[in-house]
């Protein structure tokens, strides 16, 4: 169970022969992810950790059959091409790990993917993991244990910190999904919450936001009008971030008066979503709503 990916998802790795691609292919395989093929232009015919490598996705599909999802590790300047190749070959879930992709490239491929009903996760994401089933990402899997909390986040290591706190208190995680740290991402909090709300294995959702943009505010508006509520608890990073400065993530910047901490926190609280002051408080808020 969980959302988007599970143990049956047939996965292709784009950029499988690179340092990151190869390293994480090994870890994803160890986790049980069903990786059936990889691509790397010019490296067709070789193998990486036993996974056959092809020059193109088209070739991989002809030899291996259907591909449900692809995960992209290619460098930023080739990332657009990798997304278009996956979409045009009918891949319905695409995870873009790559960081540092030009904004206007992202705008185009994110719109392209959405217009073809493709679920694009990222860019600049740690990926997605349905705990105990499949990992399409780079998160340290030992931190997570299976359970009934869904996590959706704009962050990487902060997500692991939060997950560790939850596990320590006896909670487990159904699916963890990183939206990505860039200003434009394929999915937003609303998209992912809708999926969690239909997932029988998820009882509550932990939302990890950060300064920049208005994704948290838009989610709050959506949630306040949504019936059949599943409880949500939030944490927002960047209370101490000054305006106009980019805090590591390309998307984490307060600009043109939009994206500050106070606005996010008050919007969420007005929608009835408790907001934790520190990552370690999240479990206390969860225990109050999950009685």
């Amino acid at each position: 169970m969980g959302i988007i990916v599970d143990s049956r998802t047939r996965v292709l790795v784009q950029g499988i022969t690179g340092r990151e691609g190869g390293f994480h292919t090994k870890l994803m395989l160890e986790y049980g992810t069903k990786i059936v093929a990889g691509t790397s232009p010019g490296k067709g015919g070789t193998y990486v950790h036993g996974v056959p490598v092809y020059n193109s996705i088209n070739e991989a599909i002809r030899e291996q059959g259907t591909i449900d999802a692809s995960i992209i590790f290619v460098p930023a300047r080739f990332a657009s091409d990798a997304v278009y190749e996956a979409v045009d070959n009918g891949v319905k879930t695409i995870v873009v790990i790559t960081e540092g992709i030009p904004l206007h490239d992202e705008l185009r491929f994110v719109n392209y993917a959405r217009s073809r009903s493709v679920t694009l996760i990222g860019p600049n994401t740690p990926g997605i993991m349905t705990v105990g089933e499949a990992k399409l990402g780079i998160m340290p899997s030992h931190v997570f244990k299976p359970g009934r909390i869904g996590i959706v986040s704009r962050s990487g290591t902060l997500t692991y910190e939060v997950a560790r706190e939850l596990i320590k208190q006896g909670y487990g995680v159904s699916t963890v999904l990183g939206l990505g740290g860039d200003p434009v991402t394929g999915l937003d909090f609303i998209d992912v919450f809708k999926m969690f709300s239909k997932d029988d294995s998820t009882d509550a959702v932990v939302l990890i936001g950060e300064i920049g943009g208005d994704a948290e505010e838009r989610f709050a508006r959506f949630y306040s009008q949504y019936d059949g509520r599943k409880p949500v608890v939030a944490y927002i990073a960047g209370r101490t971030a000054p305006p106009g400065k980019r805090m590591g993530h390309a998307g984490a910047i307060i600009s043109m008066g939009i994206g500050d901490y106070a606005s996010k926190r008050s919007s969420l609280e007005e929608a009835g979503i408790p907001v934790a002051d520190t990552p370690s408080q999240i479990h206390q808020l969860l225990s109050k709503i999950l009685v």
Binding site: R239, T240, G257
Partner: protein
């Protein structure tokens, strides 16, 4: 990155002119003598002296002055050259002919994160910061979404024309400006192209009185000519950090912060505030930090005069704690700075890392809250 790739007004105006957008006649000056020459060359009565800085709020800080004769221009130029605006020294002044303004408008092209499209913003109330306008008069801002696959289309100018209250005979000018803005956005990989104000002059022309262009720094690899401009607004410490490819931003507190991942670094800063302390900086060393990188990061933070104590918070998946520990120990022995340091780390080879640090008298925690509380105590001189 901490800094934004923002261009100076005079650079933005140069680009605007290249794309056929009218701006007032102006000359850049880097000295009072330059201003003298510029005044004579412009050969106009009143000039505007505009300090060229990258921080916002220049007008309110007194960084823009009018002068109606040469003597006045030189006096005001001297004042401006001795000024700092929000910590940024005024080193360049744009000397411009004063324009007779009938109305001040606002136009910009930017990215709308919510709809994942580009968007033109236009308002008849130019000259105020868009932040303020959006807060006070959201209904006075027109938003025209632009599909990234289609780009600018002529109807957008017709739409904006009516909203801005301009006569039909101004359509050609507005169309040229909006078309040029889109072209600049694409050619320069910009995040923002803004003319505020765009003046409607007494003689019926549209002129960009100010120009703000922000370049997307992720696209710099395809703009070699713009690369040298990156990081100009950085402080000396931010410049060192940038060379080492760290994400680093200075704040005004006294507890130095080093962490991995943008979200966790912010959460560490926020926790310091929550428990009553004040963070001095944001420094994200990224994933899989090596001993050398940890060493350099610690050196930057620990040597900063404002920093009284340092908190290192590493949540390692693949990060090796022995590397982190060795990096910290090396930095402290190289800099010989005796400031308290507290380390929280999790990851591979945790025990070995812990042993190295304890040997050097550094306390190690596994829980983030405990480490934060401890560093605050140390800064307050308790324990």
């Amino acid at each position: 990155m901490g800094s934004c790739m923002k261009l100076y007004e005079y650079e933005g105006k140069e680009i605007a002119r290249k794309y056929g957008i009218e701006t007032p006649r102006g000359i850049l000056a880097t000295s009072v003598e330059d201003v003298d020459k510029a005044y004579r060359e412009l050969n106009t009565g009143t000039v505007v002296l505009k300090s060229q800085v990258l921080v916002g709020g220049r007008g309110l800080a007194g960084g823009v002055k009018k002068a109606s004769n040469l003597e006045e221009a030189l006096t005001k130029a001297r004042e401006l050259f001795s000024m700092s605006i929000k910590g940024e020294r005024v080193e360049k002044i744009l000397v411009e002919e004063a324009v007779c303004i009938s109305r001040e408008l606002y136009v910009s092209l930017t990215v709308d994160r919510a709809t994942r499209k580009l968007v033109y913003l236009a308002s008849g109330m130019g000259g105020v910061e868009i932040e303020e306008l959006a807060r006070k008069h959201p209904d006075k801002i027109l938003r025209i979404p632009v599909d990234p696959f289609i780009g600018y289309s002529g109807y957008m100018a017709r739409h904006a024309l009516g909203f801005l209250g301009l006569q039909w005979d101004k359509l050609g000018q507005l169309d040229n400006i909006m078309r040029a803005m889109y072209k600049i956005m694409m050619d320069y990989d910009a995040e923002l192209v803004e003319f505020n104000p765009l003046a409607y002059t007494c003689d019926g022309r549209l002129t960009a009185l100010d120009a703000k262009i922000i370049i997307d720094d992720n696209s710099l690899y395809r703009h070699p000519d713009l690369q040298p401009l990156y990081g100009r607004d950085a402080t000396p410490y931010e410049k060192v950090a940038k060379q080492l490819d760290f994400n680093y931003v200075e704040l005004d507190g006294d507890i130095g912060v080093i962490s991995n991942g943008a979200g966790l670094t912010m959460a560490t800063m926020d926790s310091i505030l929550h428990y009553g302390g004040r963070p001095a900086n944001f420094l994200d060393i990224g994933g899989g930090a090596t001993r050398e990188r940890v060493r350099e990061a610690v050196k930057i933070v620990v040597t900063h005069p404002r920093v009284k104590a340092v908190l290192v918070n590493i949540f390692g998946g693949i990060t090796r704690c022995d590397e982190v520990a060795s990096g910290i120990v090396e930095a402290l022995s190289e800099t010989k700075v005796a400031k308290p340091i507290v380390v929280r780390m999790l990851g591979t080879n945790e025990e070995e890392g812990r042993r190295i640090l304890i040997e050097h008298g550094i306390t190690v925690y596994t829980e983030m809250d405990e480490a934060v509380l401890r560093i605050i105590q140390l800064v307050r001189g308790v324990g």
